[in-house]
């Protein structure tokens, strides 16, 4: 009893001097629509992931050495299997993925229920900025891994920035901290990743959450109840008065249950999988690097490969600008009208189309069919399936001259060019010869590379690629 009274007295003392009680009234007691169901937990879940990132990130900052010559060794030290530090690095890695996934899920929910409409336009716009900042964290974080993949990703990033009109090459140099990769490069990304972007994110989140309290959580979308900006404030106030409950604890409990699930998932994955593996040590003189972004940006990696070359310089800057601009402007173009997805088939359709596009591009990005397969092994005898020495020589040349890097034969080799498993049925001897000599769209001309005798061997091999091979 006495303890309780002491606590109450202490709280009174604090409230008199800080006014925190009034803040709690706004935060905890504000009424939210009763229908706020499990669909409404993704915002706090994203915030939970952010908190995991802050806590694990601070811990990592105490162990990481942001010097280009030492960073990799410090990461190896952090990542020793079975250590708590490797679990913390795993949390930071899986927490980043969770944050991207949850932020996008939150965004899709807000879009589908039309919750971005009046008066919540700025909530949407600040959310778009926060998503971009999150992707900025993901990219700079991947670079702090400072392995072979990371340093070449910096080069690729600088090269993309350099496409910006007028200031491009200065921007590229600014990113690298000089005219080449060097000792100044990593500290830039370190400062961005642990100071600049986090500060912007904290500011953005504060504004975003403030708006949630200011404008309230959107009531469930009902078909036939369009938003009318002039009358909305009254409608909403009446709605939460009659059909609302205090946020604490009638809505907060769902947020906390889901947040706990997020934490358990991230920590669980970190314990099971540990820290993500490091690539080879950073060395700009080793060419065995295939820079790839982490999974959440693989779709963009695919976009960069698939852009039509003639339009590339324009699209590489214009596409992100239009995409981001479109998202930012969305609530200002459609601030009123129906919220229910039942009455907004185009909105539902665009979410499906967008997600399908992202998944398709990611799948293509994983396969990267445009990349030569440097490690393609020579064709086995079972595939060559010929005792003709000319065909066998051709098969050897098909590997050594690099044809197999881009062409597929019976499941072996690359995917850049056409599959040549049955090419003998499509091309005559003459056509095959001309194609090798002259090349074609996206195929080099091998005229100066392969000797005439070798060409006839290659053509003999190609001609033997038919469904029904003549028995030798």
């Amino acid at each position: 009893m006495r303890v309780r009274r002491t606590i109450a007295a202490a709280w009174k003392w604090l409230d008199e001097r800080s006014g925190l009680g009034a803040v709690w009234d706004v935060v905890g007691k504000h009424r939210v629509p009763k229908g706020s169901t499990w669909l409404y937990v993704f915002g706090t879940a994203t915030l939970t992931a952010l908190m995991i990132q802050i806590v694990s990130g601070v811990a990592l900052a105490t162990m990481y050495v942001p010097a280009t010559g030492e960073a990799y060794a410090s990461l190896q030290q952090i990542s020793r299997p079975g250590t708590l530090s490797s679990i913390v690095r795993g949390m930071h890695y899986f927490g980043a993925s969770a944050m991207v996934v949850l932020a996008v899920t939150h965004m899709i929910r807000v879009f589908l229920t039309g919750s971005f409409k009046f008066p919540r336009e700025l909530g949407w716009a600040s959310g778009v900025v926060l998503l971009l900042l999150t992707l900025g964290m993901a990219f700079t974080g991947q670079l702090l891994r400072w392995d072979q993949n990371a340093i070449w990703s910096v080069v690729v990033g600088a090269d993309q920035a350099a496409r910006t009109p007028i200031v491009g090459s200065a921007l590229g140099d600014f990113i690298m901290g000089g005219r080449n990769l060097g000792g100044a490069t990593l500290t830039r990304f370190y400062a961005l990743h642990i100071l600049v972007i986090p500060a912007l994110i904290l500011g953005g989140v504060s504004f975003h959450v403030y708006l949630v309290f200011r404008n309230g959580i959107s009531e469930p979308a009902r078909a036939g109840r369009p938003v009318r900006p002039g009358r909305y404030a009254d409608v909403y106030a009446r709605y939460v008065r009659w059909k609302g409950v205090p946020f604490w604890p009638f809505a907060a409990w769902r947020d906390v249950v889901f947040a706990l699930l997020v934490v358990l998932t991230v920590v669980g994955l970190a314990v099971l999988a540990g820290a993500p593996s490091l690539g080879d040590p950073p060395d700009p003189t080793l060419i065995n690097a295939e820079p790839r972004p982490d999974w959440y940006l693989l779709w963009y990696f695919a976009v960069l490969a698939l852009l039509p070359p003639a339009w590339e310089n324009v699209l590489i800057i214009l596409m992100p600008a239009v995409g981001v601009g479109g998202l930012l402007l969305l609530p200002f173009v459609w601030p009123a009208g129906e919220r229910s997805p039942r009455r907004r088939p185009w909105a539902v359709g665009s979410v499906f189309a967008g997600l399908a596009g992202l998944v398709a591009l990611t799948v293509i990005g994983v396969r990267a069919p445009w990349s030569p397969r440097f490690d393609a092994p020579p064709l086995p005898d079972s595939v060559v399936a010929s005792s003709d020495p000319q065909v066998q020589l051709g098969a050897d040349l098909f590997h050594s001259r690099g044809c197999l890097y881009c062409h597929r034969v019976a499941g072996f080799g690359g995917e850049r060019g056409p599959d040549l498993t049955f090419v003998g049925e499509r091309l005559t001897e003459e056509q095959a010869t001309l194609r090798i000599l002259n090349g074609g769209t996206n195929m080099p001309s091998f005229a100066g590379i392969v000797a005439p005798s070798e060409i006839s061997a290659l053509v003999a091999f190609l001609q033997s690629r038919t469904r029904e091979r003549s028995p030798d």
Binding site: E70, G172, P284, R401, G402, Y405
Partner: protein, 166 residues
């Protein structure tokens, strides 16, 4: 008219508002100039260019292409391996050499020389170059960049250059 906020003359109010905003802005400007300047300053310096020896002339047979590396003009003490740059060096005659940049002209990934195919190939988006560095296939629009090369005192030297950003 007893509201203390409106007792002063409007002129005085306007003057003080502008003064406050102006002086605040000035304070921010004074503090940011050196900060932003320090971030941009390394980029304003003229790039240093020095000749670096990469290989003795004799070790490379005519026609061969090898991977060489050289150090930046003035590497920072903690830079480690990142202070180095690689290049593909080919001997085309007794005293004639070509040095190709590793960076694909598309987005800068490291191209690989495939000797038997006599092609440079990029692992990222499938750029391919002929042995003289001109584009053979894929997204690049420009040839591979080259570094200036010379032979001095029996060794091949490459002049350091900025990273060729496309």
């Amino acid at each position: 008219m007893n509201d203390p906020d409106t007792q002063d003359s409007p002129d005085r109010r306007r003057f003080l508002s502008r003064l406050t905003a102006g002086l605040g802005g000035l304070a921010a400007l004074v503090a940011s100039v050196p900060v932003l300047g320090a971030l941009v300053e390394p980029l304003l310096r003229k790039p240093e260019e020095v000749w670096r020896s990469v290989a003795p002339v004799g070790t490379l047979p005519v026609g061969d292409t090898i991977l060489v590396s050289f150090e930046d003009p003035s590497p920072l003490p903690w830079a480690g391996k990142v202070a180095e740059t690689g290049a593909w060096l080919r001997r085309t005659g007794d005293d004639a050499f070509i040095a190709f940049s590793l960076d694909c002209a598309h987005l800068g990934c490291p191209v690989r020389w495939v000797p038997d195919a006599r092609l440079f190939m990029c692992p990222c988006h499938g750029g391919v170059y002929y042995e003289d560095g001109t584009v053979a296939a894929g997204p690049p629009k420009q040839a591979l960049a080259r570094y200036p090369v010379r032979v001095r005192d029996g060794s091949v030297e490459i002049r350091t250059s900025p990273l060729p950003l496309s």
